[in-house]
Symmetry: C2
Subunit: 233 residues, 2 copies
DNA sequence: CAGTGGTCTAGACCACAAG
DNA sequence: TTGTGGTCTAGACCACTGG
């Protein structure tokens, strides 16, 4: 309205956020529609749309055609987790990275893995166990199964030079992934590989990735004690 | 080019994705600029922009003014984690929810907590320990500190009726949060509260939330054995 | 059926940063 | 300096869905 105003979608977004946080617009309440806000803010409707769409994507607004836009009742808190290549994660901390292939073989997977990989009974997969070290100390080990049919070239790749983790990221595009985070108790095997005590609590990530045709790989990462995964909103 | 084409930003996005996945455009390689793609796809530049911006946000493209747009070299895998109210999480599984306040007191926090809460030495905070149960069995317990200055009304709230978790979400808006996921080994205290064995690996979430003025609360959630946090891309 | 958000367009100007 | 993405606009039509 007045002179000197600055109308970007971020300005609109900031003002909307202010009204939500100040309870001027309360959870569950409808807010004015895009056209009205555009008039109020003195900008195009598209600009308001951009601002509100971003807020809806982050879970603070609930938008529906015809119904309108309301402040989310249960502001779903979404945190985006970056899942890095292990080497980058370690080197990013200023530590040296090294990895060792503990075992590599072709084998028919157990039922649980087979279900996750969606392969037929009897089909053999590549089974890899790799230990990743930071400054020479065990950091995490990965127990991985790879569907060699879905991954051309894996048979001839030198997985001692470049870890399967990194090789796959660099060479095999994927469309979807599935992550589970949990904790486990170190048994004899984990204690030996990670050089920790039996009975210690360990952080575990299980991850599968797939493309349109296949489940490409599934891996279980077991981290040495003390590992912390961090994110912010 | 030909007739009968359908140009939405999602169509453009899908085609760009196809070219990335098929390695027609390789990681690190520059792709044509927006104007060129707009001509190729027979749509407005804004439409191309929308498609490419979305892909950049999800980490598959790397865009810079003047430099141009390239396929991300290290496709950052981003997963969005929803951080739910514990009651909803439990009820969502079809289990019954109940919670118990194990202790509630005002106290000066230990140094670690004080650092996270950014309060002055000697300032007292509310300290709450709450156990959440699913179908009557321990599910998770929260050890929480609340900055009462930042949370008007908390003193008089009935935290037996509604857990602090839920009360805070419903009543106190926040602008930022900080999450850490890790594992710990159950000691005597955890074993007793969660009715598990000493030495079991437990999944832990530490979370702080803040607004412009204060750190509002920090909580450490320790889950009963077997808890799994899940997400997809 | 009609109101709301979703999207597209053509054109314009701007901000940034590579060379 | 100049090419590229970033954004804004005014207007239009469409898709969905509540009433």
């Amino acid at each position: 309205m007045s002179a000197g105003e600055f109308n970007s979608w971020q300005t609109v977004q900031a003002e909307v956020l202010r009204r939500i946080n100040s309870r001027e617009w309360r959870p569950g309440e409808f807010i004015p529609n895009e056209a009205e806000l555009a008039v109020e803010f003195g900008c195009a409707r598209a600009t308001v749309n951009r601002a509100l769409r971003a807020l809806a994507e982050s879970g603070l607004l609930d938008r529906r055609r015809k119904a309108g836009t309301r402040v989310a009742l249960n502001p779903v808190r979404k945190a985006t987790l970056a899942i890095p290549v292990i080497r980058y994660e370690i080197e990013g901390k200023g530590q040296s990275y090294r990895h060792t292939v503990l075992s590599k073989q072709r084998a028919a997977p157990p039922a649980g893995i087979r279900a996750r990989m969606r392969t037929e009974p009897g089909v053999k997969l590549m089974h890899l166990v790799t230990l990743h070290l930071a400054d020479g100390k065990p950091y995490v080990f990965g127990d991985r199964w790879i569907n060699t049919e879905a991954v051309p070239g894996i048979e001839t790749a030198d997985l001692n030079a470049q870890s399967a983790n990194e090789w796959l990221v660099a060479n095999i595009p994927f469309e979807g992934g599935d992550f589970t985070f949990s904790a486990m108790t170190a048994g004899p095997r984990e204690a030996e590989i990670l050089a920790c005590k039996e009975g210690e609590g360990l952080f575990v990530i299980e991850r599968s990735t797939w493309n349109a045709a296949h489940v490409i790989t599934t891996v279980r990462l077991t981290f040495a004690p003390g590992y912390r995964m961090h994110t912010e909103i």
